[in-house]
Subunit: 223 residues, 2 copies
DNA sequence: CTAAGAAGTTGACGGGGCGTCACTGATCTG
DNA sequence: CAGATCAGTGACGCCCCGTCAACTTCTTAG
């Protein structure tokens, strides 16, 4: 690998009270996370060693363990970083919803668009397909699930939804979102809007209200 | 899959000689698989080493590699074993379906009942929750997904379903089935029928047709 | 039945990644 | 500015991995 300084997507945590020491610590943590993103995307989670990550940074091996306890912990930190980006988007999208239709539509639209545009690029996604589901129970990810369930419960309390099992409904939304994302990533012409329309129609009116394709096959199943 | 009759040459080793040697091989393979199931359930996938599995058998370390190439391969074999049990059940259930309702209902009913009764016990399921989704692309599991998509396409061809995107619909069913299974496993009083009714109603009529609970909370979120 | 060969098992071994820790140098504090 | 604190460093010991030559068990031809 010849990556020297290819800065990846994740955002910068800006405000620091800053001693020079604290500043360096934050930087190093981010350096490790950025390197990990590249290496995981390149070789996949299983094939990556902690040493691979370290070699992709200017740091020494021991330094890694000042920041993370293991490869798994870096991966979880990456997931948390991602969750922290999409959660506010989802929250905001759902807040504006005044109807079931808007609630569901906004959720899927936001999610699929994020996966396709702001998320990791498709090549990385596919390489990570084998790992992206493991340990979904990191704090920030779980918090995202909880927020969804809370929002459903609130919507029920407001009379927006019928009084259904919010936990199962949350699970169904999450399951469809993730599983469809994986299918979407395998299509050469992925279309967030079409995917969101499909999922939204399914949740609002069931199978009979799904958009028709004319032949029942996927428009494109990609390479 | 569909064998076009363009491949006659490979000689048929069809009749099983079933010598003592072959018998022992089958036994050893099963011994390893059974040990792996226990060890994975006990410590989780990530924390178990190949040596742990071997230590749980009367075999030597080298023997393991006569049967599997790695820890991952044992895990995949376990998944395949499971897939081989449930796939015929699902196929049979769907074959009898004459309507969309029956198709969907039979699928979820069969799946949730299997997970709860014939599947691994809940304790093991919860311990494996972090790993059960990884590498879902083993041959038998993928074959199960393909069968579902094929059955959907057939149903569309028969006019049973509207002509929708079969790939996305398959993904949606799979996503809901697995994600709801995980939630179900976390409830102390899991009810396959209730879960199946929920999922079936969702797919047939959307959110508004879901069974009401009276408060919108889960009946029980377990320990 | 027996002996040659095939098939499978064994466990020690070289290779390598893991996590640690004593040491060093940089930053902070009084 | 000196002493205290803290992060960085990289060699080290540990353990796991996958292999392989020697050994044991089974099969089969005569």
């Amino acid at each position: 690998m010849d990556q020297t300084e290819t800065a990846p997507p994740p955002p910068r945590p800006a405000p620091k009270p800053a001693g020079k020491r604290e500043q360096t610590k934050q930087q190093n943590r981010q350096i490790i996370l950025d390197a990990a993103r590249i290496v995981f995307a390149e070789h996949g989670y299983g094939a990556t060693t902690v040493r691979d990550i370290i070699r992709a940074t200017p740091l020494a091996s021991g330094t890694f363990y000042n920041y993370f306890q293991s490869k798994e912990e870096v991966y979880q930190a990456m997931q948390d970083e991602t969750a922290l980006v999409i959660r506010p988007k989802l929250r905001e999208a759902r807040e504006k919803a005044g109807t079931v239709e808007e609630f569901i539509s906004a959720t899927f639209q936001t999610f699929f668009e994020f996966v396709l545009r702001d998320g990791v690029d498709v090549r990385a996604m596919r390489h990570n397909a084998d790992t992206m589901r493991m340990r979904m129970d990191t704090p920030e990810v779980v918090a995202g699930f909880d927020e969804l369930r809370e929002d459903i419960e609130k919507a029920i309390a407001r009379g927006l939804f019928p009084p259904v099992d919010a936990d199962y409904l949350m699970a169904a939304i999450v399951g469809v979102a993730f599983e469809m994302s994986e299918r979407m990533a395998r299509r050469s012409e992925a279309d967030a809007k079409a995917a969101a329309d499909f999922a939204t129609a399914l949740f609002l009116g069931g199978i009979r209200s799904l958009p028709h394709t004319g032949n029942g096959k996927a428009a494109d199943s990609g390479a």
